[in-house]
Amino acid sequence: MSFSIPAPLEARLDELVTHYPVKRSASLMFLHALQEHFGYLSNEAVEWTATKLGLQPVNVYELVTFYPMFRQEPLGTTHVKVCRTLSCALAGSGELRDLFCKKLGLDSHAHAPQTTPDGKFTVEFVECLAACGSAPVILVNEDLHERVSTSEAEKILVEGGRRSGSVGGSAAKGSANPAGK
């Protein structure tokens, strides 16, 4: 995969740097913009950011690995975020996640987000989605689903299975082909 930044994006980021007293402060904004464009943050994106901001790649890499919102791998077209915080946990979000994992052939004990080999689904166990009153909740791409039952979960799986070509989540805006396929 060749790594290239479109000129308008680069111009926007160059302008962004001027907002901060030190270049390094723009790191997070750079990473957000690059993830929005590519769908995830490749090592090349991290190195490009470091070069732009006069840092060493490891400095930027520390940031990328710290925040759960930054991804180092492309997402599936349907991104299922299952809430694991207290209310949802009590209302059975663990079982819900197990169901997704089982149906999709993923490891229900894995620590990090997992994507199916066909690139259709990513299942992630996340912290509070701020809808505790209607637990358990899940976020499918950008749609919130409340009081999710097993039958609804299965429906989501069927819909997700039909979805193809287009890109899940916020990655849709920048590139039609985040995975570089």
């Binding site: 090592n43 991290v46 190195e47 840092l55 060493q56 790649p57 490891v58 400095n59 890499y61 520390e62 690995t65 710290f66 620590h111």
Partner: protein, 571 residues
Amino acid sequence: MSATATLPAPAAVPPPPPETVTVKVNGKTVQVPKTMPNWQGKPEPTTMLQAARVAGVEIPHYCYHDKLPVAGNCRMCLVECGTPMMGPDRKPVLNEDGTPKIARSVLPYEPGTPRGVIACATPISPGMEIYADSPATHQMREAVLESLLINHPLDCPICDQAGECKLQEYSVEHGQAESRFVEAKVHKPKAVDLGPRIILDDERCILCTRCIRFTKDIVNDDALGIVNRGSYNTISAFPGKAFDNNYTLNTVDLCPVGALTSKDFRFKMRVWFLKETSSVCTSCGTGCNITVGAREGVIHRFEPRSNDAVNGPWMCDSGRLNYKWIGRADRLREVRIGGRRSNWSTALREISGKLSTAPAGSVAIVASARQTNEELYLLKRLATRLGAITDSIVREGEADGLLVSADRNPNSNGVRLTGMAYTEAGIQLPKIAAGIAAGTIRSLIVFGEDVTAHGLDAGLLAKLDLLVVSDVLPNPTTEAATHLLPGAAPVEKRGTLVNTKGRLQKFNKAVEAPGDARPEVEFLQELVEAVAGPIGTATIEGLFNRMTAEIAGFGGVQWAAVGDTGITLSL
């Protein structure tokens, strides 16, 4: 005020004594300087850890290091302390006996509970009391150690750090006999190939960040960081980027635990079997102080030995790993005459016989700036007696701005001081070559250099009547020798060197030379005495003292005054 006719002459004012602060460490009153050098040597307010050291009390620590910026993250140096109580009138509150009342540090929301402060980063204040031995301090240390050990693997039997591990040492003092931990340990990457010389075990790491700070602030190569911050945080380089500067192995010394290990040394030898000898690195003109670790005549590692006048606590990787040649199988280990094995007495008798009758000006000596001052001094005596032309070989490289010197000879100053070569080494070599070609020079003595690479080719050497060569490894010059005298590597002998900055340093013998090989000083002394008369001393100490008394540049320094870290000469 009226102007006076004569201005008073400025009196020679002695420098004011350093301002001091009085503190109490474990009940003992000590005066400590108000400021002390920080990691860069700049004065900064004295910390509790430094003050305790002045009082002779070492506070346990992992992340703190004299020569690195303070991070304050391991919490091992937590101590309980107290400060004089102040009244509303900003005057100290006194006890009935007139001593100041001390307020012990407590948690603000829980005044009954002692509160620790990190000694490495907390400056002292007048009247402060440091309780480095109080029950509360011990309790804090135990708790911190327990927390550091929660995810630490119990693999000490196979860990390279065992025996020099701070976790082990502090566990003896502050550890608990039984673990309260029943959960599963967090597993992290093992045997990570961090760079060409370093292996990292992330499970053993206690995240003190000494390695990160070292490579960033000392070497200026910001190559390491902590990734996946949280329960899985690990030290790492950027993926695909090797941790590869010329100082990486210092992180192995710095690592207080067994996380960073040297590929060269790991699993080779238990450290407690190593016999440690104070020595000096001879790979360049800096002369970093080292500790040689050897067992049963085999060198296993070099480690830097702290000397603020030379190398601080560091050394470069290339110098550290430059010891393998010492044990090479093709080391010269036989005295040879005309290519056939002989013995020392025959060889020295023949050489001294020929030299004694050599006409003045018919002998040349090429010494090496890798030789010790004592060897060079003996060669100089020989040269003076024979009226010999002398020189040595220049060995230049590139300086790195840190420790590696452009001068790759460890004793260029010794060569100059003893007069074996003058301000510029190498300028006499063409004259020697011309002399041999013209037949005026009939005898050549070469120590530790391959002269065929410096204008005296094998054809020229073949014209000589006598070619005495002493070296440790074979080369074309040793092949051509009429008399070959096997010498000793620096770790196989004693002696002194003068580094590029004029630091006179001595090194000690760690292992025996192989076969018939002997320290050059020994056989040179026999040879010089046979040719030029007795010297009047049989020891290296006596020889050194004789040399420094005779050569003004050494300033009359006595062997005993050189010490383990050397002495600076004014060159």
